[in-house]
Symmetry: C2
Subunit: 346 residues, 2 copies
C-alpha cells in the first residue's frame, strides 16, 4: 500500500485532502490509492442532505455536525457544488464553513466542485465518500443541491437521504415531487417560523400519500424506476392502510436550523432510519444500490475518456467531427455509432 | 425518409410528440428518424432559460412565448424537468402549461423528464431541440432548473442563455455564481417588486466584474473550463476597461413576469444577443459548442449502453459485479477497468 493510502487509513486529513483533489481532477494516479482503500470502506453511515438553494441546507448540515460531535461521533462532510472553476467557489466555501469546526479534528469538511462536464461529478463523489469511509469517519454527510440528475444519482449513494424544503415555495414542492421524492427518507421543513410552514407539511404529507396510491398500481414507470433505483422502498401492490413494519414512513420534521430548533429531532430520525435499515435487511439493499451507482459512474467516465482520448490521438479528429456536425455535413448519430463500434472492435 | 420524419418536417405536432416520446425512452428506433431530420436542423434560435425553483422562470417563459407569438414567430418550448417517473409530473405539467396556448398551433410545449439516470437527459434534450428545429420553429426555448451539471451541459446547447433569479436569496446568488454564471448571456431579476431587487442587481453586477477581473488572469482553471466550454466569451487577457465591440456584456434586467412587466425588454435583449452572435462570428462558435455537446452526450450514452448490455447478456453478470462490490470482495475500480478493456478489445 502506498504511503498516502496508509496515511488516509490513519485518518490523516492532509493526506485525504490531497487524494480528494486528485480524484476531483480525474487523475489516473488516484486509482491505485482508491483500490488500496476500498476494502476498508463500507462501515460509515452515509447520509445525504439535499434541497434547493435558499432552503438553508448548509446551516442545517452545520448544526447536524455539531449534534453528531456532541454524541462523540466523527464526521466527514462532502458539500457537492456544481461550481464554476474560475471562481474558486468551493475552496472559499470550505474556508467559510470550516470556521465553526476549524479546531476540531473530528470534523472534516470538503467541497466538491465539478471540473468540466460529462458526469464526472457522480464518479468523484462516490470516490470521495469512500475516502471518508476509509478514514474511519462514523458518519459521512453528503450535501447536494437537489434538482439535477447528478444530484439524484448522488442521493442513491447514501444510506439515508434528508430532503430540505422551506415554507411557501410552491415551485419548490414541485421540484421535490420532481425526482427527489422517491429517494427521500426524512423530510425537513426548515425556516418553519415563516408563513405557510403547516401548509407545506400538509402538502408533503399529501405527496407521500399519492406515492403510496401510485405504488399500489402496477404501472410500467414504477417498475422501470425501481429497476434503476435497485432499492424499492415500498411493496408496489400494498395499499397505504396496509403499511407493514418492514416499510419506512418518511417523517416530516419542522426546523429552524439557524437557531438550532428541531435539529435533535432530525438526528433522531436519521438514527431511527439507520436502525430500520439494519433490522429490515434494507441496509444490504442500499449497499447494493450504492455499489451499482458507483460502478456505473466509474464505467461511464472510463469509457467516455477512452473514446474521446482516441479521437484526440487521431490528431484533431474530434475537432473535425465537431466541425462536420456544426456544418451539417455529417450527422452526430452516425458518428457516435461509428466511434462506439470502432472501440468495440478494438 | 420515413413517414414520421416527413410529418415532423411538415410541422406535425402529433408526429413530433411521438418521436420525442421515443427519444425520451431511449428507443433505438428513433435514431433513423433523427438522422433523417438532422440536415434540416440548425436554423432556429435556441434560447435557454434557467434558474432555481421558485424564481418564476416558467411564468417568464410563458410570457416570452406570448411576446414571440405577437411578433408572429413560431415557438417550441422544452421544459426539462428531472421528474420522478411515477408521478407523471411532466405530462401533468404540459397540460397545465398548455392552457394559455392550447389553441395556437404556433406554440408547441413539451416537458422532458429523466427516465432513469446515467446522464440520458442531456442526450434526450439535444435530440428534442433538433426535432423542434426540424419542425421549422423560429425560436426554441429550453427551460431548465439551473443548478445541476446536466443543466449546465444543456445550457451549452443554446445560442443564448437567460439566467433568472429573484431578490433576496443570498444562497441563490451563490448557486448562480456556482457554474451557471459562465454560460449566462442575459440576467433577469424576476419578482423585482420584492424587497432587495436593487441589491440583487448590484451583486450580479459585481459578479460580472469579478468575472472580468478573473479572466484577465491566465489561470489554469479558466483554461480548463474554456477547453470544455469550447466557446470563450471573453478574451482572457483583456482587462475590463478594454472591453471591445466583439465582446458581449450580459445585461441585468428587472421583471415582474406575473404581470408581464419587463418581458419585452428581455425579448429585446435576446434579440440583441442573437444579432451580436451573427455580427461577431460567435454564432459559428456556439454552433460548434452545441455540436460538441450533443456528440459527446450521444457517445457517452451509447458506450454505457453497450457496456451494460454486455454485462446483462452475460446472464446476471451485472448483479454479480454489484454483489461483489457491495460485499467488498472486489473493488469497483478494477472491475470498471476490466470491462472497459474487454470492450476495447472487442
Amino acid at each position: 500500500m502506498s504511503e498516502l493510502a496508509d496515511r488516509v487509513l490513519a485518518g490523516d486529513i492532509r493526506a485525504a485532502s490531497r487524494l480528494m483533489r486528485r480524484v476531483e481532477d480525474g487523475e489516473p494516479s488516484a486509482v491505485a490509492d482508491l483500490q488500496a482503500l476500498f476494502p476498508r470502506t463500507g462501515r460509515s453511515a452515509v447520509v445525504g442532505i439535499t434541497g434547493s438553494p435558499g432552503t438553508g441546507k448548509s446551516t442545517l448540515t452545520d448544526r447536524l455536525v455539531a449534534g453528531l460531535r456532541k454524541e462523540g461521533r466523527s464526521v466527514g462532510v462532502l458539500a457537492v457544488d456544481p461550481t464554476s472553476p474560475f471562481t474558486g467557489g468551493a475552496i472559499l466555501g470550505d474556508r467559510i464553513r470550516m470556521q465553526d469546526h476549524a479546531t476540531d479534528p473530528g470534523v472534516f469538511i470538503r467541497s466538491l466542485a465539478t471540473r468540466g462536464a460529462l458526469g464526472g461529478l457522480s464518479r468523484a463523489t462516490g470516490d470521495c465518500i469512500r475516502i471518508l469511509e476509509a478514514m474511519g469517519r462514523d458518519v459521512v454527510l453528503v450535501e447536494t443541491v437537489g434538482v439535477g440528475q447528478d444530484e439524484i444519482d448522488i442521493a442513491q449513494m447514501a444510506h439515508t437521504t434528508v430532503v430540505v424544503t422551506v415554507p411557501g415555495m410552491g415551485d419548490d414542492i414541485q421540484a421535490i415531487k420532481a425526482g427527489i421524492l422517491e429517494v427521500a427518507d426524512v423530510f425537513v421543513v426548515n425556516k418553519s417560523d415563516f408563513e405557510g410552514a403547516d401548509r407545506t407539511v400538509r402538502e408533503l404529507r399529501q405527496m407521500l400519500e399519492l406515492r403510496h396510491a401510485v405504488r399500489a398500481l402496477p404501472v410500467e414507470h414504477d417498475a422501470r424506476h425501481r429497476a434503476v433505483r435497485g432499492a424499492p422502498k415500498a411493496a408496489p401492490a400494498r395499499p397505504p392502510e396496509a403499511v407493514g413494519p418492514a416499510e419506512w414512513e418518511p417523517p416530516i420534521l419542522k426546523t429552524i436550523a439557524a437557531r438550532g430548533q428541531g435539529v435533535a429531532e432530525v438526528l433522531a430520525a436519521v438514527e431511527r432510519h439507520r436502525a430500520f435499515l439494519e433490522s429490515s435487511g434494507q441496509r444490504a439493499v442500499r449497499d447494493r444500490a450504492r455499489a451499482r451507482m458507483q460502478f456505473v459512474a466509474l464505467l461511464r467516465e472510463r469509457l467516455l475518456k477512452e473514446a474521446l482520448g482516441r479521437l484526440e490521438r487521431e490528431r484533431g479528429r474530434l475537432e473535425e467531427v465537431v466541425e462536420a456536425i456544426a456544418a451539417h455535413r455529417a450527422d452526430p448519430y452516425a458518428l457516435a455509432e461509428e466511434l462506439a463500434l470502432q472501440i468495440a472492435e478494438g
